[in-house]
Amino acid sequence: MSDSFSIFLDADVFIDSFSKPEYVRILEHAANQGIDIFSSLTVLGETQLVILRKYDDYREKMLQFVDLLVSLNVQFLVPDDAVRVICYEMGNDPYSTLAGHPTDRTHLAYAISYKKDYNIRYFISSDKKIRDYELCEVLRIKGFEQPEVIGLKRFKKIHQG
């Protein structure tokens, strides 16, 4: 694929996939298109906590979640020093839409840190706070960029027709 890129999935995408079979189909299609699907250890942890908190049938949902991860070959980004520093800088911006939301900031920081390494073009999320987020100037000046934040249906429209 000449225009090769990858995507990063936020926790809400995994949770929504339980009630929206279309989400699974879109992600399966993406995997079949050769798009690498990333997430982070923090998203993995948050998703598991949401499953345990939200569902009475959490055991079944957990198995469903794991099966989805395996079938899509989701790759989990691990922490590095750059993620730590980017998180710190993002947290110093009191006017951002993610002020007071360190978990969301951390998920996005992974995608920002690894964007160039793995060509992460999209951060897939339905969270408006993340969609409206503008990367702080101190990181922009240093050449960091955030992936475009879009919903899964928007991704489908752009890349799957």
Partner: protein, 51 residues
């Protein structure tokens, strides 16, 4: 700075020490990507934290 031979850890079972500069692991716990010492140094330099 410890040198990580990126190719040598790909496919191995993930343990923290195997990815000191970052990378990725699949849902079966196998390392799929590894950031090299050089890539890491470049990123830290970009952040203004080069040693």
């Amino acid at each position: 700075m410890r040198d990580v031979r990126t190719e040598s850890v790909i496919g191995k079972k993930y343990e923290r020490d195997l990815l000191p500069y970052g990378g990725a692991v699949n849902a079966r716990g196998r390392i799929t990507k590894a950031i090299s010492a050089e890539q890491h140094a470049q990123k830290m330099k970009q952040l203004g934290l080069a040693k």
